[in-house]
């Protein structure tokens, strides 16, 4: 297996790792979005979906472990590449201009950091229920299920949280707009006849991810989704 490790440690090999882990993470983002959009079908639908995930039991932990490993690999490889790339320049230019490169392509590290900060916050907020209003995490609906719906709506009704999510999703979108198109190039799938397709795919998918994800905090802010009547906050509680 030495050949594989040596091959993957080269600059091209590390890009393969970035591309493959990036694709897997992107798949997760899509599936996650599809799951979350069920909020527009009401509390019953979303809480039922959440319960079906919880009921996976050990499988859920396998999925979470796999996801964490992919995430760590993606971030770790990114850090390695960024350090090598920084070292490769040596003395910086007094003047350097971008010619054809997009802002997104030059800002992968910064947008990546935005996404990483967001992921940590998001996990604390919704998955672990620590730090940020932990009592939201203990709510249940009339069927006794974990009340994900109320937790999301109550969270997004707070302007700073909604804004933070919206900004983070813009960061994720910019990251993906370059990352997705770039994946085809890194894996050597790019061909002249695909070039306009991959570019469009990058932009199109990015729009879906951004609009889909920000639709939830925006809907909560404008009162399009509201807390259900069973929620303790509704009757002036909490």
């Amino acid at each position: 297996m030495n050949w594989l490790l040596r091959g993957l440690r080269s600059s091209v090999g590390l890009k393969f790792v970035m591309a493959v882990t990036g694709l897997l993470l992107f798949g997760f983002v899509l599936a996650h979005l599809a799951g979350n959009l069920q909020i527009f079908a009401g509390a019953d639908q979303l809480n039922g979906y959440a319960k079906s995930l919880q009921d996976l039991g050990p499988l859920l932990w396998v999925a979470r472990g796999g996801l964490l490993a992919i995430f760590v690999l993606h971030v770790g490889t990114g850090v390695m590449l960024a350090r090598r790339n920084r070292a490769a320049r040596g003395t910086p230019y007094a003047v350097q201009k971008a010619i054809d490169s997009t802002h997104a392509s030059r800002a992968m590290v910064s947008t990546g950091v935005v996404v990483m900060i967001f992921v940590v916050y998001h996990l604390m907020h919704f998955t672990l229920g620590v730090g940020i209003r932990p009592e939201f995490h203990d709510w249940t609906d009339p069927q006794g299920r974990h009340d994900v719906y109320s937790m999301v709506v109550a969270g997004f009704q707070q302007l700073p949280i909604a804004l933070f999510y919206i900004v983070s999703m813009l960061g994720l979108g910019v990251h993906l707009s370059h990352g997705l198109a770039s994946m085809f190039q890194s894996l050597g799938w790019n061909q002249p006849k695909y070039r306009s397709f991959t570019r469009l795919l990058g932009i199109g998918i990015t729009a879906v991810i951004i609009l889909g994800n920000i639709s939830m905090p925006v809907a909560a802010q404008f009162g399009l989704i509201e807390l259900p009547e069973w929620n303790p906050l509704v009757n002036g509680g909490n």
Binding site: S10, R89, I99, S101, G188
Partner: protein, 248 residues
């Protein structure tokens, strides 16, 4: 034309170096960029100061020797043009231009604007060749090669090895150079046999020399005086990927 030039001066590889400002009052718009530097150097010689060292050879855009970062863009603002073929009419009277050497750890500065690009030679030595003896130049049309394929090989072979791709890349990556050199061989029957091993050997040597990795920003393609396409980088990635899982 009147110009203000901010030019990188550095005595030798050990010197720290810095930007030095010079004024030129009578620049003809018909001069090439290098001729403009010649005029400045004559001024400096008359004043008894050391002229500015810069690389140049053919001055007709085919040797790849000139290597000037002009106002933040390799070879200056004209597309598909080397610095020697860039003319002063591109600029405006009263402009201030910053002239720097290529910046890369793998291209150490020798003096002023001259950098050492032998790292490129070592990448070629690592795999940029055909290792079977192909004999003398074959007769024309002895080995039939489709025109479209021959054209692609020629597009890659247009690389003059100047290093503008490295200079433009935010990561100082040599991917476009490596891809062009591997690509022009890989598209012809003599070179195709070894393309996977070649991709591996050249990429590993590129890393060894301290060049960065490709982030697919494509500023290399934009800076290339021979306008070599980044499609060759995708091809190199493809050959490297296939080579990773095949062979011994």
């Amino acid at each position: 034309m009147k110009l203000t030039l901010r030019i990188w001066r550095q005595k030798n590889a050990q010197d720290k170096g810095g930007l030095e400002t010079h004024q030129l009052d009578d620049v003809s718009p018909d001069m090439s960029f290098l001729e403009m530097l010649d005029v400045l150097n004559e001024d400096l010689l008359e004043k008894g100061t050391e002229p500015i060292a810069f690389d140049h050879d053919c001055r007709e855009g085919i040797c790849g020797t000139c290597s000037l970062m002009i106002d933040g863009v390799p070879h200056g603002p004209d597309r598909g043009t080397t610095a020697c073929q860039l003319h002063m009419r591109t600029f405006k009277d009263g402009d201030t231009l910053t002239i720097e050497p290529w910046r890369a750890k793998a291209f150490p500065v020798v003096k002023d604007l001259v950098v050492d690009r032998t790292s490129f030679d070592r990448i070629i030595q690592a795999g940029g060749y055909v290792s079977v003896n192909t004999g003398g130049a074959p007769d024309a049309n002895l080995i039939p090669i489709p025109k479209a394929e021959a054209d692609v090989a020629m597009d890659a072979a247009a690389c003059i090895g100047c290093g503008a791709c490295v200079a433009a890349c935010k990561n100082a990556s040599a991917m476009l150079f490596v891809a062009a050199k591997a690509g022009h061989l890989g598209h012809l029957p003599q070179g195709e046999v070894e393309k996977k091993a070649r991709a591996r050997a050249m990429v590993h040597q590129m890393d060894e020399e301290g060049f960065g990795a490709c982030t697919n920003t494509y500023d290399c393609e934009a800076a290339c005086p021979k306008e070599i396409s980044v499609e060759f980088i995708a091809e190199l990635h493809r050959d490297y990927r296939k080579g990773l899982f095949s062979g011994r």
